[in-house]
Amino acid sequence: MSENIGAQLERMPWQAQVLRLTAFPIPSPTTRQAGWWEEIVGQTPAAITSRPKQGSYHEEGPFSNGRLICEIASARIDWLFIPGDLEAEDDGLATIGAFSDTLKTFRQLADQWFGLETCPSAQRLAFGVVLLQSVESKQTGYRQLSMYLPRIELDPENSSDFMYQINRPRESRSGIPNFKINRLMKWSVATLKRFPIQSLRGVGLGRTSFACRLELDVNTAQEFEGQIPREQMSTVFQELTDLAWEIAERGDIP
């Protein structure tokens, strides 16, 4: 993380809901590679599900202030950091905490994994995150989004159902030849509603709350046919998270 960004950590208003690291290994992953969860967390996972015939493996358990999932399935390996406590906060947002804090934790986790001898090299890496920022109303949310989306003219009072998605690829700074990074972002305002489910007749909607929602999928481009050198996996992932941070902080910039 650059010093410049590091110094601004405290000012970041986003709360993280889901953090995801995805690797597309070479060769394809096998369930024999299981057991990473315990190696990283230092405890036995709460649940393990293995389906060898389908080539899928799932480990899950409490981690930091949420839950950590390691999933091997099809041609990919996913690490997911999600809320563990099902109780939503007062504002209705279920998150794993401030983006700044959770990102630090997640990067450490990723580095630990990349450092394992059994960690495979990958053709492709991705960092996915869902961020929320509590706002008072939909209109406030649209005004807030406008600050992140300077090219979009929003009319907060007279519009609804806004969702903006764009990919702004960039060349990687890693030095790996022909290596592009997709910066896929999706902006919207989420409406959160509480309702009692005791009665199956009728919807008793309670308080409604709102949040700006930013979903990021920063990933190395599929077109890259080579292999990310193992010693560079951590650097590349750091670049992905730095780019995500930049978008969360500065919005939709080329």
Binding site: Q17, T22, F24, I26, P27, S28, T49, R51, K53, Q54, G55, S56, H58, A73, S74, A75, R76, D78, L80, I82, L86, E87, A88, G92, L93, A94, R124, A126, G128, V130, I152, S160, D161, F162, M163, Q165, N167, N182, L184, S188, V189, A190, T191, L192, K193, R194, F195, P196, I197, Q198, L200, V203, G206, A211, R213, D217, N219, A221, Q222, E223
Partner: protein, 275 residues
């Protein structure tokens, strides 16, 4: 610009626990309908079971609530008792299927998927790495295609209606179609001859977006119990000519008991290693 607002209801149960999720208001209505259906359709559920399972416990409202949790990808997911019922989603009555999605390769079941999110899944950008939910509809479509091809005679290397339709579906639905194929072929739910034919076409078709998943399916299929399927997988891998498959080929050669197929696999390995 796409215009769709994300709505995230927080579901509150009788035990006053909250289950947050990012689903639309439609999902709230779906959920109520679904829970009602769960409550009223237990007989239906049991009558649709192909193989009655003694461990299937009739659901109570409480067990459903306990079974619903928030999972990755901001979905509501079912665990434990509720999972037992919906895991075999083919046993669900049709009216339930509309509200559920099954992720074939995880232990989790996506419960509520409002229409706009389904559309989004279909139209997921090529640059996205989000895990796709295959969906009952897709599996059913591929299953039907395989069903109609059972009586066909496949001539080596000749394109046929089955291959044309398979390729069309893959180009149209991308990795969702490959996910459905994976579910049906790897778990050996379809005719081995048709699966074998499908695998060779998976190897020789040109579609960069699904390349990795097609290669993975071919590699996995080397471990299927049917020699015909393994043969199709070997041919598909030979067509792909990708040295990244060598490790799986070596493993498959070690396990292979059919002498002729073992020789074929060795030939494919030799081909990949000479690249």
């Amino acid at each position: 610009m796409n215009t769709s607002e994300t709505t995230m209801p927080v579901v509150q149960s009788t035990t006053r626990r909250s289950y947050p999720c990012t689903e639309s208001e439609t999902a709230i209505r779906c959920m109520q309908s679904l829970l009602t259906l769960f409550m009223t359709s237990q007989t239906d559920l049991r009558s649709h079971e192909k193989e009655p399972d003694e461990s299937t416990v009739p659901l109570s409202l409480g067990s459903i609530f306990e079974g619903i949790q928030k999972g990755p990808g901001e979905s509501l997911q079912l665990f434990d008792l509720a999972q037992k019922v919906v895991e075999e989603h083919f046993t669900q009555p049709d009216r339930l299927r509309g509200f559920t999605e099954f992720t074939a390769d995880t232990r989790q079941v996506r419960l509520l998927r409002p229409a706009h999110e389904l559309d989004e899944q279909r139209g997921l950008p090529a640059s996205s790495t989000r895990r796709l939910n295959v969906g009952e509809e897709m599996i059913s479509q591929i299953e039907t295609l395989f069903g109609t091809a059972r009586e066909l005679y496949f001539e080596d290397g000749m394109e046929n209606d089955f291959a044309r339709e398979l390729i069309r579906l893959i180009r149209q639905h991308g990795n969702r179609a490959i996910g459905a194929l994976t579910h049906l072929i790897v778990t050996e739910k379809v005719n081995a001859g048709v699966a074998s034919e499908a695998l060779r076409w998976l190897g020789c078709m040109d579609d960069p977006n699904t390349y990795r998943d097609r290669l993975w399916l071919l590699e996995r299929s080397l471990y299927c119990s049917s020699a015909r399927v393994r043969d199709g997988a070997a041919l598909g891998i030979a067509f792909m000519d990708d040295p990244r498959a060598t490790e799986h080929l070596r493993e498959a050669i070690k396990r292979e008991r059919v002498a002729e197929l073992k020789r074929d696999l060795e030939q494919v390995l030799e081909q990949l290693e000479s690249r």
